[in-house]
């Protein structure tokens, strides 16, 4: 079957877009391509993207109502770029399951804000297989391109402890797939598990170590004396989660310096991951394969398209111009693929240069918005 033919599978499905059968067929085909032939998705991107739109239009009543109100239907859309992107904030108020009556296999919840739980976004996942397929290959390429199968130290609560956290699921699954031996240094509440640290120390170190962590957990690690270890050459640290929730005055540079010293790792082997609960695919800094010059630029998976939009008009900006980042994610086939965030960045040669969030860090004014009495904005990935 040619690459184009893989997308044609969807034309042969008896069930209509929006149905469980259509999702099943799409998820199977997508997961297969993600695992075995990701370039097939690139080659036939438009067809896949429009299939996702048709499915979500057919299967998700809130999306259908909104798109219809905007005059956007499967018969009017010719380009995936013309599908109105859903605000990421909408995950706090809507259930985007497509089809809407299918029981989710997981529900990922955003972590809320640093100062109060606030209202949390919820992302119902209808096909965990599709999620895991979308996750593994890019993660392996970003963190273990040499295929050494490192030992893994996780500083993120496990998926067992936090099944509603997409980050926990990603780290637990990633550790299982990439690693040989896995050491979970933190418990469900983020506290240190001394037994696991002792087990790590007792083991013979004959291969590199991969540390999977959030920025916050690394800050906490550096604050507690005696947790650093001299890791074997070629060891790697994954840092994610940004600096939201880090109340201390540490900069990213200072954190990386501290981490490199604490673990005796090459600073150029610290890899940042950019992800969010609303998107099932991730973006990675390809520093291990392309070197430190790509620091700050994140590579999306082949099934994820990123555009920078003018913050006022939401029109697509030219290459290199900064704007609100919008994502079209085929891994979101069972929910909503086109999502616009409040994150700011530019797209250069298919890579994303992140520039942070548009919202100011210091609250402005003495006015309290009505809905902040009931909910708080700015949720991070849980």
């Amino acid at each position: 079957m040619s690459r184009q033919d893989k997308a044609r599978v969807l034309d042969l499905v008896a069930d209509p877009p929006g149905s469980a059968g259509y999702l099943r067929a799409a998820a199977t085909a997508l997961a297969g391509a993600m695992t075995g032939d990701p370039e097939a998705l690139t080659a036939d991107w438009d067809r896949w993207a429009l299939a996702a739109f048709r499915h979500q239009f057919g299967g998700c009543p809130p999306l259908r109502a909104w798109w219809t109100a905007r005059g956007v239907t499967p018969s009017t859309v010719e380009r995936w770029q013309d599908v109105p992107p859903v605000p990421a904030e909408a995950f706090k108020y809507f259930d985007f399951r497509s089809p809407h009556d299918l029981e989710p296999e997981a529900v990922f919840v955003t972590s809320g804000t640093t100062k109060g739980s606030g209202r949390r976004g919820r992302h119902a996942v209808l096909s965990l297989d599709l999620y895991l397929a979308s996750m593994n290959a890019p993660m392996r390429q970003a963190l273990d391109p040499e295929g050494v199968r490192p030992d893994v130290v996780s500083l993120v609560p496990s998926a067992t402890a936090r099944p509603d956290s997409s980050l926990s699921v990603m780290v637990t699954e990633g550790a299982r797939v990439l690693g040989r031996e896995v050491y979970e240094w933190v418990d469900a509440d983020g506290g240190w598990v001394d037994e696991e640290i002792a087990r790590f120390d007792a083991a013979t170190r004959d291969r590199p170590v991969l540390v999977l962590a959030t920025a916050l957990s690394l800050v906490h690690l550096l604050e507690r004396p005696g947790l650093g270890r001299v890791l074997p050459p070629g060891s790697t640290v994954m840092e994610t989660g940004g600096f939201k929730g880090v109340d201390t005055e540490v900069s990213r540079e200072a954190l990386y310096e501290g981490v490199a010293e604490a673990f005796a790792v090459d600073p150029d082997r610290i890899v940042n991951e950019y992800g969010m609960t609303e998107l099932l695919s991730q973006l990675w800094e390809p520093v291990l394969t392309e070197g430190p010059t790509v620091r700050g630029c994140h590579r999306p998976a082949p099934w994820l398209r990123v555009r920078a939009l003018d913050p006022v008009s939401l029109n697509e900006l030219p290459e290199g111009a900064s704007g609100l980042l919008a994502f079209y994610d085929l891994a979101n086939f069972g929910s909503v693929s086109h999502v616009v965030t409040q994150d700011v960045g530019a797209v250069v040669d298919g890579r994303v240069r992140l520039e942070g969030r548009l919202l100011g860090s210091e609250p402005r004014g003495c006015s309290r918005a009505l809905d902040e009495l009931m909910s708080t904005r700015g949720a991070a990935r849980g």
């Binding site: 009543p61 809130p62 109502a65 909104w66 219809t68 109100a69 905007r70 109105p84 992107p85 859903v86 605000p87 990421a88 904030e89 909408a90 706090k92 108020y93 809507f94 100062k115 109060g116 209202r119 109340d247 005055e249 913050p311 006022v312 008009s313 939401l314 609100l324 616009v340 965030t341 409040q342 700011v344 969030r357 548009l358 919202l359 100011g360 210091e362 609250p363 402005r364 004014g365 003495c366 006015s367 309290r368 918005a369 009505l370 809905d371 902040e372 009495l373 009931m374 909910s375 904005r377």
Partner: protein, 440 residues
């Protein structure tokens, strides 16, 4: 902020803050020797300069406010006129007399209602002010100096220029008074700086989010009086008398201006408009009127294109509320790419993203009991209510609103600039700064 002598210091360090606090503390003694009417004259003479079209202070303020406060030149002018209009000798004297009918009590023991009492300003008042609303820092500074308390002010982001220029004016008009005031900026995360500022305080005023107020509360010395202005919400209640076709456009214009003033960053700016059902124009119709009025307001008071540091949140607000309207009913009007205003009509209350950047929700109400119930949950954060069109129900409604938590009930057109003698969050702002001494 640009330095004015040593009175305005940006990006301060804990040591310099502590040194300044100690120096200000020593200025208290000299300030207390000055009669309060001389303080009023000095402050008023500076404040009035901001109303003089040709005065360099006003010219510089209008030149720098747009970039400093992220507002358009037209909005900067409106804000400056509104704020400085209350910084005159006459208005400051009236504010003083509202809290102290005989202001002489600030100079000496006086007979008040058969008691000999003296009001003593704190040796040092430290003031942490929220950002975004130009002039709030000067108001705080004026309050402390009016009760003859030296003050260390940390103006909020976007409120530095007026504090800086006021202190410059004070140094030109009354050098003896400016030695009792300093403005310093430090990053809010720099807890060492905040601790240094608070160490010698005898009174602390803090404006800001509930989290900020909680942080200052836990850091405040036990001997310091803490005056808290946490975030507040204001709203408008419209009765059917204001929905007659001949008046509704004017009412909508007043509401739109109250929403738009300060780019809606002020605690006095409404985020919710409750419209009575059964009037000549129904609540959804008022939403449409308010949308038109918001468009007109955006022409006279445009927002800066760059004002839109909230633009990402604005896109989220518009997108989510449009989705909610499509799914569950309601309407959303907005200014598109050319203007930031957004009006959301909801026939039933529902949760959604926070309104921001001239964003307002319109909801119907019917019957006073239901109105009271709908506002009830907002009580602890309620501040100003713009109340109009209630006819002979106005007094009864005001009573209910006051009991819910509202501390200021005015016509919508008057929401934006409360007078300097207002009961700020339900308290007398000058009186609560002082400590009373009684001579028996």
């Amino acid at each position: 902020m640009q330095p004015v002598g040593e009175r305005v210091i940006d990006d301060a360090l804990p040591e310099s803050i502590l040194a300044e606090a100690r120096r200000l503390e020593k200025a208290a003694e000299r300030l207390r020797e000055r009669p309060v009417d001389s303080v009023v004259r000095a402050l008023g003479s500076v404040g009035e300069r901001f109303l003089d079209q040709s005065d360099p202070l006003r010219v510089e303020a209008l030149r720098r406010l747009p970039s400093d406060a992220d507002v358009s030149p037209a909005m900067a002018s409106v804000i400056l006129d509104g704020m400085a209009g209350d910084w005159t000798r006459e208005r400051l004297d009236r504010a003083l007399r509202a809290d102290f009918p005989d202001p002489g009590v600030l100079d000496r023991f006086c007979d008040v209602a058969g008691r000999r009492v003296h009001a003593v300003g704190p040796e040092l008042t430290v003031q942490i002010v929220a950002g975004g609303v130009p002039g709030v820092g000067v108001n705080a500074l004026l309050r402390a100096l009016l009760v003859k308390s030296p003050t260390l002010l940390r103006p909020g982001r976007g409120d530095e220029v007026l504090a800086e220029l006021f202190l410059r004016g004070l140094s030109e008009e009354a050098g003896w008074l400016v030695e009792a005031a300093t403005a310093m900026r430090w990053r809010s995360e720099a807890t060492g700086c905040t601790e240094a500022a608070l160490r010698h305080a005898r009174a602390i005023t803090v404006y800001g989010s509930d989290a900020t107020v909680s942080e200052i509360r836990s850091a405040a010395p036990v001997v310091a009086r803490l005056i808290e202005y946490h975030h507040r919400i204001s709203l408008v209640v419209i009765g059917r008398e204001a929905l007659e076709s001949e008046v509704v456009r004017g009412v909508a214009d007043e509401v739109a201006r109250s929403v738009s003033l300060f780019e809606q960053r002020g605690c006095v700016c409404p985020h919710l408009v409750l419209v009575e059902s059964g009037g000549a124009i129904d609540p959804e119709g008022f939403g449409a009127e308010l949308a038109s009025a918001s468009a007109r307001c955006a022409e006279t008071w445009p927002a800066l294109p760059s004002a839109t540091s909230d633009v990402g949140a604005l896109q989220q607000l518009r997108g989510v509320t449009e989705m909610q309207a499509a799914a569950s009913g309601g309407r959303v009007w907005h200014g598109g790419a050319s203007a930031s205003w957004t009006v959301v009509y909801e026939s039933e209350p529902r949760e959604g993203p926070p309104t921001t950047a001239r964003g307002v929700r319109v909801r119907p109400w019917s019957g006073l009991d239901a109105l009271v119930r709908s506002i009830g949950p907002l009580g602890p954060h309620l501040q100003t209510v713009g109340l109009t069109g209630m006819g002979d129900r106005r007094a009864e409604t005001a009573l209910e609103l006051a009991r819910l938590g509202a501390t200021r009930i005015v016509e919508p057109r008057d929401m934006g600039f409360p007078p300097p003698w207002w009961l700020h969050d339900g308290r007398r702002p000058l009186d609560e700064l002082v400590r009373w001494a009684e001579l028996e």
